[in-house]
Amino acid sequence: MKEEVLIAGFGGQGILLMGQLLAEAAMQEELYATWFPSYGPEMRGGTANCTVVFSSEEIGSPIAAQYSVVIAMNQPSLERFAPRVRSGGVLLVNASMVPVPYEREGITVLYIPAAEIAHDLGQPKVGNVVMLGSLLGARPALPIGAVEAAIRTVIGRKHADAIDVNLSALCAGRDAALERLTNSAADAVAAH
C-alpha cells in the first residue's frame, strides 16, 4: 500500500498543516511516512504545497512526478497539479475557490465547497480540514480514527480548544465526498 498525496494552495490556507496531519495519522497507523514542503518566497502569500507519502514499505523518494491524490485548494494549484494525478487517482478541488470545472478520463474528480462547509460549522478557518476529510471519503487511504488522533495531537499542542471543530470539519468533509461519490455513481447508472 502506498499513497502519494500532493496538497497545494495559497500560503495561509493551512496547506502544510493538512500534510502534517496526514503524515501524523499515517505514522500512528505504523506506516512509513514523509512530508516535504515547498518553501521560500512562496510561503509569503504565494502558492504553497507539500507532498506526503505514506506506505507500508520503506519510502525512497519523498517527491513524485505523479500522485495518487491531489488536493487543489485554489485555481493556480488546479492548473499546475491536476494533470499530475495518476490514472485511477483522485483530484479533490476546493470548490469555494475554484469555480471552473475540470474533467479527465480515468481519475475521480470531486468538488468540495470547503469554505461553505466550514462556515456552516461556525469556523471559517477549518476549510483545510474539510478538504482533508474529503480525502478520507474519496479513498480509504487511512482510517478516520487515525486522522482524528492526529488532530488531537497536532492541533492539541497549541489550540486544544479547536480540536472539536476540526473533528467536525473532518467528518463533514468525508461526508461531502461520500455524498458526491454516491451521486456521481448514480449519474453514471442513470447515463447507462
Partner: protein, 371 residues
C-alpha cells in the same frame, strides 16, 4: 543493509540510540539539532541562513537550558572561529550552516584541520554557485570531501539519508572527529533538513561526559607544561612532517567506512548515490526491479573515508555503475577512481535545486544500461 567496517559502534552512537522513545514526526533540521545535543555538544555557534535555521533556533532553546553554550555569531567567519576556540580548549563544539555560509568558513576550517582539532560542521546544502537558491543541492561534495580551504587536509564527511540518521550521525561525527582529531561534516541538504518523518528522537539527554585530553589549551591548571594550539610551522621540514602526520591520520581513518547496500547481491548495475539522491535512487531501483531489471543501490554513509574498496570489488563483477547526484558530477570522480576502468561508470545529475522524480530516474538508468 548497513555495512560498517569498524565495530563496535562508538559510545556516543550508543548514547543517542538508547533509550529509544516512541516515534514522532520530526523535521530533519530538528533531528540534527537534537542529535547534536544528545551527542554531547557543549558549544554551538552559528549564523542564520536558510534552509537550516531550525538548527540554531532549536539549540538556542536547549543548550542554555542544559547549561551549555549557544551563541549567535556575527558571521559564519566568526562562528567557525568560535568553534576553533572552543575545540582548542577541549570542548565538543559545533556549527551548522548552508552552502554560502560554509564557504565563508573555509579559512577557519583549514586552521582547525591544521591545528588537528575535532569539531562538527553541518552543511544543509542549497543551490549554488553564488547566492544560488534555497532549494536542495549536493553541489558542495568537493568542498566537504576534498578539503575546501587551503592546504592539504581532509574532513570526515557523513551523509544522512533520512531523519533518523540526521539525529544519529552528529554523534558519530563527534566520535570520529575526536578519534582522529580532525573536523567532521554532516553533509545534508534542503530536502532532508525540511522534511518530516517518523523518527525516534528523544527530548531527554544524557549528562555531558567531560573527556580530559592532554593537548588542549584550556588553562594550565596543575599541568607541568603549557599547551599551545597552532598551525604555524615556518621550517619546511617541520611543516612537511606535520603534513605527513595528517595524511597518515587520514589513511588510518579509512577503516571507518560505512555504507548501505540494497538489492546488491545479484545486481548487474549498481546505482551509487548519497543522501537524498539515494532516496530518489532507491525508488527508481525498486521500480526497475519490478520491471525485471537487476539494479542495486550502494549508498556511501561516509563520503570521507570513501567506500572505494567495496566499489572496486563490485566493479569487477557488475555490468556497470550509475552515479546519481544533485550536482554536475562530483562523487562520480571517486566512483570512477574506485572502479578504475573495471566497468563503465555513468553519471546523471541535476543542479539548481531540481529534484528529478523517480519516474525520470527509472528511464535514465534503464536507457544508459540498455543491452
Amino acid at each position: 543493509m548497513i555495512v560498517t567496517t569498524r565495530q563496535p559502534v562508538s559510545t556516543s552512537e550508543r548514547a543517542v540510540r538508547t533509550p529509544a522513545p516512541a516515534k514522532r514526526l520530526v523535521k530533519g533540521n530538528e533531528a540534527l539539532a537534537l542529535g547534536a545535543v544528545a551527542a554531547g555538544a557543549e558549544c554551538f555557534f552559528g549564523y542564520p541562513i536558510t534552509p537550516q535555521n531550525e538548527v540554531p533556533e532549536i539549540l538556542s532553546y536547549w543548550m542554555p537550558k542544559l547549561g551549555r553554550v549557544f551563541l549567535q555569531a556575527e558571521s559564519e567567519v566568526a562562528s567557525i572561529n568560535m568553534v576553533y576556540g572552543a575545540a582548542a580548549a577541549g570542548h565538543r563544539a559545533m556549527t551548522s550552516s548552508s552552502s554560502p555560509g560554509i564557504s565563508l568558513m573555509m579559512e577557519g576550517l583549514s586552521y582547525i584541520a591544521g591545528a588537528r582539532l575535532p569539531c562538527v560542521i553541518a552543511n544543509v546544502m542549497r543551490g549554488g554557485p553564488g547566492l544560488g537558491n534555497i532549494a536542495p543541492s549536493q553541489g558542495d561534495y568537493f568542498q566537504a570531501v576534498k578539503g575546501g580551504g587551503h592546504g592539504d587536509y581532509r574532513c570526515i564527511v557523513l551523509a544522512p539519508w533520512n531523519v533518523q540518521e540526521m539525529y544519529e550521525l552528529p554523534a558519530l561525527a563527534f566520535d570520529l572527529a575526536e578519534r582522529y582529531r580532525m573536523p567532521a561534516f554532516v553533509l545534508t541538504d534542503a530536502v532532508l533538513g525540511s522534511m518530516l518523518e517518523p523518527a525516534r528522537v528523544p527530548l531527554e539527554f544524557p549528562p555531558l561526559v567531560r573527556r580530559e585530553q592532554d593537548w588542549t589549551a584550556c588553562g594550565r591548571g596543575n599541568r607541568a607544561h603549557k599547551n599551545v594550539v597552532h598551525s604555524l610551522y615556518l621550517d619546511p621540514e617541520v611543516l612537511s612532517a606535520k603534513c605527513e602526520e595528517l595524511q597518515a591520520t587520514y589513511r588510518r581513518a579509512a577503516c571507518e567506512v560505512r555504507f548501505d547496500e540494497r538489492l546488491i547481491d545479484d545486481a548487474q548495475v549498481v546505482v551509487v548515490a548519497f543522501g537524498i539522491s539515494a532516496r530518489l535512487a532507491l525508488s527508481a531501483v525498486s521500480a526497475l526491479r519490478r520491471r525485471g531489471e537487476k539494479f542495486g543501490l550502494l549508498r556511501p554513509i561516509t563520503l570521507f573515508p570513501f567506500p572505494s574498496e567495496r566499489l572496486s570489488a563490485l566493479a569487477k563483477r557488475v555490468r556497470g555503475m550509475m552515479v546519481f547526484e544533485l550536482n554536475s558530477g562530483q562523487m562520480v570522480e571517486d566512483v570512477r577512481l574506485a572502479a578504475n576502468g573495471a566497468c563503465p561508470v555513468e553519471f546523471f545529475g541535476k543542479m539548481g535545486g531540481v529534484l528529478p522524480p523517480p519516474e525520470e530516474l527509472v528511464e535514465v538508468f534503464s536507457k544508459r544500461f540498455a543491452r
